[in-house]
Amino acid sequence: MKKLATYGVKPHDATLKSDGEKWSLMEKLLLGLTLDQYIGQVIRNKFNWLLAVIFAVGIPVIIYRFIFSLGAVTHANYDYPWGLFLGFGLFCMVPLSASGFMLGTTVEIFGRHDFEPIERLALLNGLLGYFFAVVYLLVDLGQPWRLSYPMVYSWGPAAVLFLVGWHVATYLSVQVAEVSTAFFEWIGFQRGYDFIRKGTVGLTVSGIILSTLHQGALGALFVYAPGKVHPLWYSAPFQWIHFFTSSIPAGLCMVICVSTVVIYTMKWRCDDRFIDNLDRITISLAKGAAMGLITYLIVKIIAVAHDNEWAYLATGWGYWWLLEILGFVVAPLIILSYGIHHKLVGIIRFGAFLTVAGILLNRLNTALITFNWQLYQEIPHKYEIIISITIFALYVTTYRFILNRLPILYQFKSKADE
């Protein structure tokens, strides 16, 4: 795209062409390029080659899983019923997608319109993260075609997973509605846009409710397993608070990370409003993330004190816990604070990546690494790893496909520039 721009090619970014004609859907899909130009830039991009390799290997493995059962792609372990698909796909993707409700709240509820340039990116990040968490879930469920059973056929309302299922489903539709404004603009459906826009506050408030509960509920799922999850990662009264508070820095830092990737690799798609505001917004997001991190840190320590688990700190698992807390909560907290104080966006971005890594580590620790700490460790099957990577690549591809087209990183103009 960079190369095309030097020839004066401009991507589609307005309702009408510069000569006043409407864009056709095909032209919109091709970003306003000709077919040759479009295919040319797809092939020139090395990243597409990497994706192609991942799909060439991974898609057949996913098909293999559905033909030959879950047992064919996992170790079929009774002691580790949840492997990488849920450990990574559900428990990591969902907190990293808390950005939608965080930024929705900031802009729509608290009226901080100075965050608006990044609001849609945060909403999209939320929507796609949840959507692909469900994709991971579909691969993991024994009988995914029965996914609707807890909704319509057989209710188990006393179960935490029942709440997770309902909330994720409801929240997905809320997020579809929130992101649909961008789609309606792009497709040119003004009435749909106006309709959704009227209900924004309602949608955002339901987003907050649903997020509070299901982010916490993911933690509460592990409360069913006292003795299986290591005591340092287990806390009956605090588990849901841990998962909820940590989802706040997780979501905010994920937006910083995604915007970093975007500004370095897709700058052509960002408009001046996005580019000029990004540094300021990154610093503001980092402030929120730092506050979230310190809250999380304190609640983590309170939980250890509450259950009087200090003795565990002197064990091997204790060192592992200290590494997670010092290296991936305290360290990013210091880095983010330093970056905020000195207004160093590069430092903040590094801190954000570290925070995201810390969330991944925490969720994997809870779901897999310290799970069954009294029994033995389970290393996921190689196909399980391949499938997880493939779905993540699908997520990246979809993410990029939408960012390239919908007015997420740029504002839709009524008429294209000359």
């Binding site: 509820i109 935490v160 339901s206 009264p237």
Partner: protein
């Protein structure tokens, strides 16, 4: 201005209400303390009597129509099997009960322990199931309806005894498999399960749980030197239908002695209690925040072009 404000408030409340309706209130299912059905049946397992003949395994296999095992039931090399580095055998989708051998320190002979579903009074599997596939029957069995199972395997996470197994290798109809107390073929008619009936050593005693508890206490009282003064399953995770007495410390027979005395669901109640609070308080709280934060400011949205001109008034 005030008009828009009020409408937004209503919109917020309405959406909150809608979210509430979509989330059926948590059943007061686990409230109070449930100590099992009064006439629920159970089995007392006396580890001191077991000689490790595996007759119960064979009886279970036949009764439940399970596939033939890799090694015959009279092959005792299975006691030496070690899985995953340090694990003895556990119930699987092809064997609902297994007997393991332990060598307690200082004992002159090995100790054998039969493992199967303990049929908890308030089962963790049941309370964790989001399609309500599990039922605790008044007769005392914990049974499972495979026709509604989605395959989330939360029950396997929740079971403190590592009992439910999953038919991972079925692509079309994978389901949970576990001991069901021979509910359909025997317990329903008041008959003891196949394993109990088959045991040549009378390791297991079948009867009403409350009666068996008395027998267990009597046995311990009569032979205080022989038995450890503990009935494993009397209080563990809220009490189990199957419970054990032993001459060796329970941890040396592979029992998890750190399990909570309360049902597993009690741990989750802290979270379940906040659900209705969030559902009812959040809509008002955040709509209120919205009104406070935006009072006197423009209600226009920057990305809404029609409001652009009104910005800043």
């Amino acid at each position: 201005m005030s008009k828009i404000t009020r409408r937004k408030f209503l919109a917020g409340s309405a959406a909150g209400g809608a979210a509430m309706m979509l989330t059926p209130a948590k059943k007061a299912f686990a409230s109070g303390s449930f100590e099992g059905f009064p006439d629920g049946m159970g089995v007392l397992v006396d580890l001191t009597r077991c000689v490790g003949c595996r007759t119960c395994e064979a009886a279970c296999n036949k009764e439940q129509g399970l596939p033939a095992p890799d090694l015959p039931f009279d092959d005792y090399s299975v006691f030496d099997e070690i899985h995953h580095g340090n694990q003895k055998r556990r119930p699987t989708d092809r064997a609902y009960t297994v007997v393991n051998r332990y060598e307690p320190e200082g004992a002159d002979k090995p100790l054998y322990r039969k493992i199967q579903c303990n049929h908890c009074n308030e089962p963790a599997c049941l309370t964790s199931c989001f399609v309500n596939a599990y039922t605790k029957t008044p007769e005392g069995a914990v049974i499972y309806n495979s026709h509604v199972c989605v395959g989330c395997r939360n029950c396997m996470i929740a079971c403190p005894f590592h009992v439910p197994a999953y038919t991972y290798h079925s692509a079309i109809n994978p389901v949970i498999k576990k001991c069901i107390f021979c509910y359909y073929t025997r317990l329903k008619e008041g008959k003891p399960p196949a394993c109990v009936e088959s045991c040549p050593q009378q390791v297991m005693t079948f009867g009403k749980r409350k009666d068996l508890m008395k027998i267990a206490r009597e046995r311990i009282a009569k032979n205080p030197d022989k038995y450890i003064d503990h009935i494993y399953g009397e209080k563990e995770v809220g009490g189990t239908g199957w419970f054990y007495i032993s001459n060796a410390p329970f941890e040396e027979a592979g029992f998890d002695i750190h399990l909570p005395k309360k049902p597993i669901i009690d741990n989750v109640k802290d979270f379940l209690a906040i659900v209705p609070i969030v559902l009812t308080v959040w809509p008002a709280l955040f709509t209120g925040f919205h009104l406070l934060a935006t009072k006197g400011k423009s209600h226009g949205h920057g990305d809404d072009h029609s409001h652009d001109e009104q910005e800043g008034h």
